[in-house]
């Protein structure tokens, strides 16, 4: 029968878990299930979600072990042609469990999210898009993007540089208006965990192994500047093309330009020049220019923490970022190979995960609660019927608690 301690059939359990993973508070999931004719309390939804989330984490860990022993089979029938692994991180709030009702010892914890996608794209003999996308040349839009990623984006652009999106997009060069076909996303799966990078790498590798990513013809690993991304890439995706996320590069360029420029029009002009150079693979030119600016405005004093808006700090950070990632910024070549140049898929996946796990009044028990909800959310956001497959194979319990068997709960 594949029954366990809960008095629900396996198909109803799957519905309960899916509702818990998709809908906000457990009370909302309980209400949605009530509308669907399933009577289950919010507390019970929470208990079941936690239980299944932990089971999914255990299943994932077993796969990691199998991969290490080289016994993890490939799950897909056809080897994909183009694949990308994008890694990013988010934050969720946690609390100490076992302290009674309420939130005790609250902590913000980083979760790690990997987006594994198969793509459809073509190899081109020439760069299919030699000029930057029009959207990266719209001041308001760029400022909003930088604000989202870095938390602040200088002052609101004024005058010419502060023109609205519509007028700016209309005045952008004609070449930038045509957007050549970007790599098209086919199937996305997701790995999410609170684990540190040393443990997270093998989890992503196991998922990639199951999807036969290592045999794909064209492979990319996209990440921002976080050191652990490149440690994962070096450890488990060495044959993948390592690509530094263009959007993070853009943020550093924008903020450095904001720091060194004297007015909005000069700042915007510096930014667009640098962006165009980086887009076209002329990173060295930008490095030289930035080095010139740095020597003019001065370097950050040793051992002194400068204000985050200090031009010396902004220029130094941009220089450091570009130097560290220069080898991963050959964007024209990546475009010719039909590979992604930004981690926008991972960014959007993190947003989708956050929509369930992150809210001002939402705290998850450390560590099981956090890990469990991430497994459930990752399962419902993966386009591989992960939950249905899991429930089709989930065994029941030979033994059950007496009260469960007697239906007294």
């Amino acid at each position: 029968m594949r029954l366990d301690n809960h008095n629900f059939s396996p198909s109803l359990l799957q519905r309960i878990v899916e509702a818990a993973a998709r809908l906000g508070p457990f009370a909302d999931a309980s209400f949605a299930l009530h509308l669907a004719g399933v009577e289950v309390s919010a507390r019970q939804v929470e208990r079941i979600a936690l239980e299944i989330g932990i089971e999914l984490a255990q299943q994932r860990d077993r796969k990691v072990l199998l991969r290490r022993r080289r016994q993890l089979p490939v799950r897909v029938a056809i080897t994909p042609a183009v694949v990308a692994v994008e890694v990013d991180g988010g934050h969720l709030r946690s609390r100490e469990p076992g302290c009674g009702p309420g939130v005790y010892h609250r902590q913000s914890k980083e979760d790690k999210v990997a987006c594994l996608v198969t793509l459809k794209s073509q190899v081109s003999p020439r760069d299919p898009q030699p000029e930057p996308s029009a959207s990266l040349l719209v001041p308001r839009r760029v400022q909003r993007l930088v604000q989202q990623i870095k938390g602040w984006a200088g002052d609101e652009p004024q005058g010419e540089a502060g023109k609205g999106e519509a007028s700016e997009a209309a005045s952008a060069p004609a070449a930038t208006q045509q957007r050549p076909a970007a790599p098209q996303r086919l199937v996305r799966t997701c790995v999410a965990s609170m684990a540190e990078s040393r443990a997270f790498g093998p989890m992503v590798a196991a998922e990639a192994q199951e999807r036969d990513f290592y045999q794909a013809q064209r492979r990319a690993f996209v990440g921002d500047g976080a050191w652990y991304n490149w440690r994962i890439q070096q450890g488990y995706f060495r044959d993948f093309e390592a690509i530094a996320d263009l959007l993070h590069v853009l943020c550093y360029l924008y903020l450095a330009a904001w720091g060194v420029g004297v007015d909005d029009s000069q700042r915007w002009s510096i930014y667009t020049g640098w962006l165009r150079a980086v887009w076209q693979g002329r990173v060295q030119e930008v490095l030289e220019e930035l080095t010139g600016w740095q020597s003019r405005i001065g370097t950050p004093p040793q051992g002194e923490e400068l204000d985050e808006k200090d031009p010396r700090r902004l220029a130094a950070e941009a220089l450091s970022y570009l130097r560290n990632n220069q080898a991963r910024m050959d964007y024209p070549r990546y475009r010719r190979q039909g590979l992604p140049i930004s981690s926008s898929l991972a960014e959007s996946l993190v947003g989708e995960i956050n929509a369930r796990v992150k809210a001002p009044q939402k705290f998850w028990n450390r560590p099981e609660g956090c890990e469990a909800i991430l497994q459930l959310r990752a399962a419902v956001l993966s386009e591989d019927d992960r939950l249905a497959r899991y429930f089709a194979q989930r065994p029941g319990n030979i033994y059950r608690r007496r009260d469960a068997a007697e239906g007294s709960r």
Binding site: R2, N7, G396, I398
Partner: protein, 126 residues
Amino acid sequence: MPQRKITAVKLREIHELAAGWGKIVARRAFGDDGPDLGVDLTAMEQVAATAANGLNQSTLEILLQQQARCLGAQQPCPDCRRLCLVGSEDRPLAVQGGRITYHEPVGHCPDCRRDFFPPQGFLAPG
């Protein structure tokens, strides 16, 4: 034990059979002439949903009883493999479309001093 799936053809046949019973339900609910103009769609939905629930519950209860009979009077204990008598206990179970009472087969091993719930073919130690 391999889990057998019902084929799509068989499921279609069952759907047609159950659809035929709709006439019987409609006649029983509103007579040979059907509902008059005073009956709204909500009331009709209520009749249909109740009929579907009843059919659902009775089908599942019968199927589960029939399957339980296949177990025989004795089953081996999952731990010590000693043959133990199998009885049954009523257990409320939420299923798609409602709740049923499952006369769940339960064995008791006097050596291990614990109950177990066959059939074991689908099960793993919990």
